[in-house]
Symmetry: D2
Subunit: 149 residues, 4 copies
């Protein structure tokens, strides 16, 4: 069972992570294999060329892995990203971006997660995205403080 609920995460984000609200981030589901998170589109996402700015996708990827980590270890504040690598694969049209984060390894000190980002249709459920083409792919490492597991 997840160690935080979707509601817990949103409360933490509202109170402590203003960046998440700025980017319209919504944790959509937590399951035994990973989490789905969505960045709800606004004009602020755009960059020259009429596509979505890279930092929106990086912020979504990072937050999705953060939610994944907290869902397994509970609300440990100082679980922090130590590195992130992202490949931008296709230029997304203006619209929501949906992220699927899953662990590559869940160690006691380090968690390595993988995130696939999809360009999303407002009316599509998140679980329908696994067959779409991905727009970006990231891996990131989170460091977990001692005695947090």
């Amino acid at each position: 069972m997840a160690k935080i609920t979707i509601q817990d995460f949103h409360q933490l984000a509202t109170e402590r992570l203003p960046f998440a609200e700025l980017m319209g981030l919504q944790l959509q589901s937590i399951d035994s294999e990973g989490v789905w998170m969505r960045a709800c589109y606004s004009d602020k996402f755009l960059r020259p060329g009429g596509t979505i700015a890279g930092p929106v996708m990086m912020g979504l990827a990072d937050a999705a892995i953060y939610a994944l980590v907290l869902s397994r270890i509970g609300p440990v504040e100082l679980a922090v990203t130590t590195s992130l690598n992202i490949n931008f694969l296709r230029k997304p049209q203006p619209g929501d971006i949906v992220a699927r984060a899953t662990p590559l390894k869940f160690g006691k000190r380090l968690v390595i997660g993988e995130v696939a980002l999809y360009s999303a249709d407002k009316n599509k459920a998140t679980s329908e995205f696994t067959n779409s083409e991905i727009v970006a792919h990231a891996t990131a490492t989170y460091s977990i403080p001692p005695n947090s597991n």
Copy 2:
């Protein structure tokens, strides 16, 4: 000589890159070796643990390389990031973050840039940061559309 001025970049950012304003980004100087960019602190930068959120640093690093690329090829809209790798080294205190972006390679199709991020004091000039400890280090690749050089 730089192919865009600081003012050109800020106008482009104001009109076309709302994300830059949200993050308080200011291009501070362009010289023959690289650019300095600053993210001016606001409470929105914070994350749990009282430090600066990773996406702020990723957004700053990405924008600094974008400015570097445009300073050499002019205002080419579709110069886009194809990949970015960042290592978070130290947890910055609340405050400005300053970035120094320099090219590792400036090719016709691909530019690979390196960015060092420093935790900044409001009263320090950017050029004084090269001896401080860096808080994050990034490399990123930009793809330049054909016939833009």
Copy 3:
């Protein structure tokens, strides 16, 4: 249909890529979704601590994506890696390492591939590894010279 055969690849490796033989690399299969490649164990793989040296896994990951690229565009010599990112997840026991390489994006100029590496049992067919725990995960970008597609 693949644009090179397993035999073509081994001939190219034998004649032109001595490194592949040093590392005991064997391309095992090419299918519509990717390739399987194996690094056949020898004592040369070891590093202090009794585990497999990182460069063996990096070399295998890189070669697997190279084979994937050639399987789609034919024997283009100057398809070269422009960047590679690898996460080492678990310390493999002495033994073969098996790689599954698949494309994240197959563009005209850039190919981004993903590779999962598994610690292998000599008697296991490669297709049985998808349910094992992975020991390392890599993404890499290959640049394809103009007019090669």
Copy 4:
């Protein structure tokens, strides 16, 4: 003062890291800021296109950071790479490759190092390479087992 000597490192490599000998690796100097390591050219380095194979450069970069780590913490066997990111910038001519490894951060649990690789002339001393164009640039993270510092 360095916690291992050049000779200690070569003995460890000879006995425990056969890979290093295969690649002609030579630790050339250890100073207060970093280490210099060289990969002595042989035909085994070549890849199609007449340039140096990526895995040679990745192996050199990884070994240079390993030597850097050991020079500061002594011969800790299970200091292992957790991730490595490399950008290939220029195609080196057949010849030696020289690496300069320096720390971005030296923590108790994690070391993040940076490596610049230069195409080398046999008759050039390593310290002369800082003004040459680099052929590849890597960052890597090493994990240090508890109680090793």
